[in-house]
Amino acid sequence: MTRAVSLAAAIFTALAGGGFGLADELRPYQIAGGAIAVSLTGTPGDAARGRAIVVNRTVGLCLLCHSGPFPEERFQGNLAPDLTGSGARWSVGELRLRMVDSHKLNADTIMPAYYAVDGLNRVAPAFRGKPLLTAEQIEDVVAFLATLRGQ
């Protein structure tokens, strides 16, 4: 754990020093064992804020594809697994990797990488160089998903 943090710190320093263009706005992270163990922000997210992001169809976009335990939300998508029980199926670190860059687990998945800006084509100018969610929002969503432990 401490090694991961110091490695992350080392990468961060290098990134900041390297003067990258757009990508340098992203916080560095380390993937190990199918998970990103360390919070992108260094602090835990807020589950209530995370829920609001997940159900917001223009911010999280999650319900375009997923359904989940959101009885007040009409018209949930079915292009993706139901989110119910995600927090029981996956550790916090595994959830974080699935949010940050699910392509690392399945190159062909339609689940967008929410915290990546590289390797994209024809991004509309308003969204260029920006990840779908900020590091803070990712942590909020991860904190919320971790609470989804029911059946």
């Binding site: 319900l63 292009l79 399945n106 509309a124 969204f127 779908l132």
Partner: protein, 261 residues
């Protein structure tokens, strides 16, 4: 050098994730279905009956424009082409078509505008203008019920280019057209049923637009949804995508003017 090091590190520590493609590929010919198949009963009825189809207004305006003299040539479409019910039958079913003068594929809207500029000495209509939609709907209407034809060898390069665009992941959402329309048709993207994405009914009256719109407008909607930069109206990429969609829908009947949610 120092600049590239951290990125290598990140890649090196990332999980290897080279899962073989799970994409389904082309929809088998006998499983293709128009968006019409999944319309509600009321919307189907609206499309089927000219007196309730809102697009009929455009078709009638298109007929009037067909017969109206225009430009400094002071000539109507009808003076060259005669009775559209005969001369325009089947035309929309085989567009985009290869234009020998332009040496490139052009779509029906571009064909109409070429006749405007070259034969009528008139200014071209703007894309999505009432006039251009009206004439396109009127000409398209003459092919209603006829199967889409895509056999011109000269279109092959455009169809191939269109296929590549259809398969390419684009936008901040980083999805391809194929990931929705080949791999996930029939499922629900929030409240919308994902259709196979066949261009059978264009221009369409879209209930969401409360207006008639072209195939290119529809494609722009999908691209904007993917947070991608849409192709400009009339761009070669847009026409290539149209040519691929028509090839992909070959044999399905033209429904112009269709109604969609």
């Amino acid at each position: 050098m120092t600049g590239s090091l951290p990125r290598c590190l990140i890649v090196a520590i990332a999980l290897a994730a080279c899962v073989a493609s799970a994409n389904g590929g082309d929809i088998p010919l006998d499983q293709r279905r128009s968006g019409y198949a999944d319309l509600g009963r009321d919307t189907k009825a609206m499309q089927d009956d000219d007196t309730s189809n809102p697009a009929t207004l455009w078709v009638l305006d298109g007929e009037a424009l067909w017969n109206q003299k225009a430009g400094s040539a002071n000539r109507a479409c009808a003076e060259c082409h005669g009775d559209a019910t005969a001369s325009m039958k089947g035309v929309a079913a085989r567009y985009p078509a290869f234009d020998a003068v332009q040496k490139s594929p052009i779509d029906l809207e571009q064909r109409i505008n070429l006749c405007r500029t070259e034969r009528q000495n008139a200014t071209p209509f703007a894309f999505e203008s009432h006039e251009l939609l009206a004439l396109t709907a009127f000409i398209g209407r003459q092919s209603r019920g006829m199967p889409i034809v895509s056999t011109d060898e000269k279109l092959k390069p455009a169809i191939e280019a269109g296929r590549k665009l259809f398969m390419q992941r684009i936008g901040q959402i980083d999805m391809s057209c194929a990931q929705c329309h080949d791999d996930n048709w029939g499922k629900h993207l929030t409240s919308s049923l994902v259709p196979q994405g066949h261009p059978t009914g264009y221009p369409i009256y879209r209930l969401e637009w409360q207006n008639l719109g072209s195939l290119q407008r529809r494609l722009r909607n999908c691209m904007i949804g993917m947070r991608a930069e849409p192709f400009d109206y009339g761009a070669p990429e847009a026409v290539a995508l149209e040519a691929y969609l028509m090839w992909r829908a070959r044999g399905l009947p033209v429904e112009t003017p269709a109604v969609r949610p």
